[in-house]
Amino acid sequence: MRKSKRFAAIALIASLGLVAAACGDDEKEEGGSTDTTEQTPDTTGMGSETTTGDTMPMADITGGVAFDTGGRGDGTFNDSAGVGADRAVDELGIDVTELEANVDEDREANLRLLAEDGRNVIVGVGFMFTDPMTAVAAEYPDITFGIVDSVVDAPNVRSLVFAEHEGSFLVGAAAALKCGCDKIGFIGGQEIDLIKKFEAGYTAGAKYINPDITVEVKYLGPAGDNSAWGNVAGAKEIAAGWYADGVEVIYTAAGGSGAGTIEAAIEAGKWAIGVDSDQWATSGDAAAQAVILTSMLKRVDVAVFETFKAVAEGDTEGGIKVFDLSVDGVGYATSGDYLTEFIDQLEEIKQMIIDGEITVPEAP
């Protein structure tokens, strides 16, 4: 009796320890992971997808994707890159290996590992790969590299940059048009230049429609605070407060944290705007879909896919590839059909941005 009790206690402690260890890790890697990643680590965060397109003709090149800490399972940015890689596997028959960074040093090590493994094209997802890629790309001139969200000046690196401010301008305009209100909000992840671009475009877009509109702005963490990308509770707290205070629409550009805004929107019965991916489609949840007005689409998937495709077709040149409104590299989602009555107006604004009649600011 006593023994079995003791065993039970040990088993309990051990399993608690495991959970604690696992959670601890998640926190370290992802800075407070979202609910979704914790529930389904097997299908989201883990492992490499060395899928071989067995029904497809095999391309004779191989690819690699190096994710930053966090990686797949954030429901937005990284997943979008993952979709691009999956498309390369499915449509081009490219064998793609994914590596995800655990710590600072992993970024360069993973790029190197993929290069040594003989990959023909390697994409680094995120601007933290800037320096590592500069170093590794110089050592492997025969490999084509791609970097998302940054510029690396090397003949064999394709720099994949986005006009997030332009897309954000459109969702800002959509927010102001839809709510007809005088108060909307913006929640950012880390307070860094990249995210300020989203804020600047959003605010400008809303003010373009309604010059008197107030845009509440809050960031979840200072630069360097990785928890800002997975702070669901923090985003929810801010959003709930704002909604109660008369804010009608909140745009969240904070990776996985955006789930918190959506939760608060559901509870308050108000609008939320997603980011990077079409979160109406990725949420797959009727309650969430009822409140996701639109999403600012940042087609990381397109950028990643196009990089693989170009190399598969023999174009191994580097250079800066800008994904803006004119090439549908950014945009807004219409899933849910909440914007139908404003589509014409939004399309008109979009064209004006493309034509240069509207200049969207890149900094608030």
Partner: protein
């Protein structure tokens, strides 16, 4: 009536005092502690094998890949590279432990030192060797000052250092991010998305020991830190007092050691070492401050210190192990093994060490109690006969 009781109590106290604790001999203690650390590693390997097996991953392949990586030159160099900051941060944490202080604030102290060193290092012009020394000194001073706040709060206000260092971590993160963003970012670099401080002049760069695969010179600094840590704690009068007051504050005070002073000094030293943690990245690699530089190394040092049983030799081995696991994790991912397994393994290792140490200590106490109780019974029996 009282006389015999007093006598027997006295006898009892003597018995307790004279019963040797397990591993009280020097070599015996070393054997016990290293055995428990080794055992913890095996426990973690076993649990992770089960985890892999349960999740339908090929655990045999995982371990053969992992241990197969030992033979690869690049992995070995990478192991040393990654172990370098772990050695230093584990030493910083261990100095605190010796004084019974749990300095969770190494991360924040490191962060403050990183920015301070990046800014001060870029602002001065010095010849090569001097410049490197200057940067290391700035790093230590900045780390010591930040760590010293927790020491001050503990001595003067009795604030638990665990709480204050956690809070100081948050403050450091925000303060450094704000100061960096508002004052010290390099505005001349407008193209890159990656924002940095002004680059350190090449005189402040830590030279590499080996160029390719890269092995930075900070490794030497780290090894010197471990050596000095050993000398300081085990070979000096200060170290003796440190261990004495860490082990039994009351007794130490009775012999004239001022515990407040010891706390303040050990927090300063711990902070100074913490300041050096990020230097292999700052001075040896990036040559400027950027966000996320060296992140987590302050926390990883706690794990390495615990597995290394707070001893420099132990830290050397555990730092190498953690560095190796980290260096080999990419290889595992190539073989379709989730990268999380390495961090889970590290977590279980540390947990197992803590549990095993706790079990040994309790078992030891209970053994002494039993012996004392037996003696008490004997005494009682003798008295009854009388």
């Amino acid at each position: 009536m009282n006389q015999p009781l007093d006598e027997s109590l006295e006898k009892l106290t003597k018995t307790i005092a004279s019963t040797p604790k397990v591993g009280s001999g020097r070599f015996q203690r070393m054997a016990v502690t290293s055995a428990s650390s080794l055992f913890a590693v095996f426990v973690a390997l076993a649990i992770c094998a089960v985890l892999l097996w349960v999740t339908d991953k090929d655990w045999v392949k995982a371990y053969s890949t992992l241990f197969g990586a030992v033979t690869e030159e690049r992995v070995l160099y990478d192991t040393l590279q990654r172990a370098t900051p772990l050695f230093i941060s584990a030493a910083a944490v261990s100095i605190g432990f010796k004084m019974n202080l749990f300095n969770i604030g190494v991360e924040g102290q490191m962060r403050v030192a990183l920015l301070a060193t990046a800014v001060a290092g870029a602002a001065v012009r010095l010849p090569a060797v001097l410049h490197v020394a200057f940067c290391l000194a700035v790093a230590m001073i900045a780390g010591a000052l930040w760590g010293g706040i927790a020491g001050f709060l503990k001595v003067k206000r009795g604030v638990n250092e665990v709480i204050s260092t956690i809070m100081l971590n948050f403050i450091a993160l925000s303060l450094v991010a704000w100061a960096f963003d508002d004052f010290f970012r390099d505005e001349s670099n407008t193209e890159g998305v990656l924002v940095k401080t002004k680059e350190l002049p090449s005189t402040a760069w830590m030279p590499d020991l080996v160029d390719k695969p890269k092995l930075g010179g900070t490794l030497i600094v780290a090894l010197v830190v471990l050596l000095l840590f050993w000398v300081l704690v085990w070979k000096t009068k200060f170290g003796f007092r440190l261990r004495a007051s860490g082990g039994n504050a009351g007794a130490a005070r009775a012999t004239g050691v001022n515990p407040g002073r010891m706390i303040a000094i050990s927090m300063l030293i711990s902070g100074a070492l913490a300041g050096l943690v990020g230097m292999n990245r700052l001075m040896g690699d990036v040559h400027a401050y950027q966000n996320n530089l060296g992140e987590q190394q302050g926390f990883n040092g706690i794990s390495v210190a615990l597995l290394g049983q707070k001893h420099p030799v132990g830290i050397l081995f555990s730092g190498l192990l953690f560095g190796f696991l980290s260096a080999a994790s990419g290889k595992l991912q190539l073989e379709d093994i989730p990268k999380e397994i390495v961090t889970i393994m590290q977590g279980i290792i540390v947990l197992a060490v803590v549990i095993i140490n706790g079990v040994i200590q309790r078992w030891d106490e209970r053994r002494i109690q039993r012996k004392a109780a037996a003696q008490l019974e004997q005494l009682a029996a003798a008295e009854a006969v009388a």
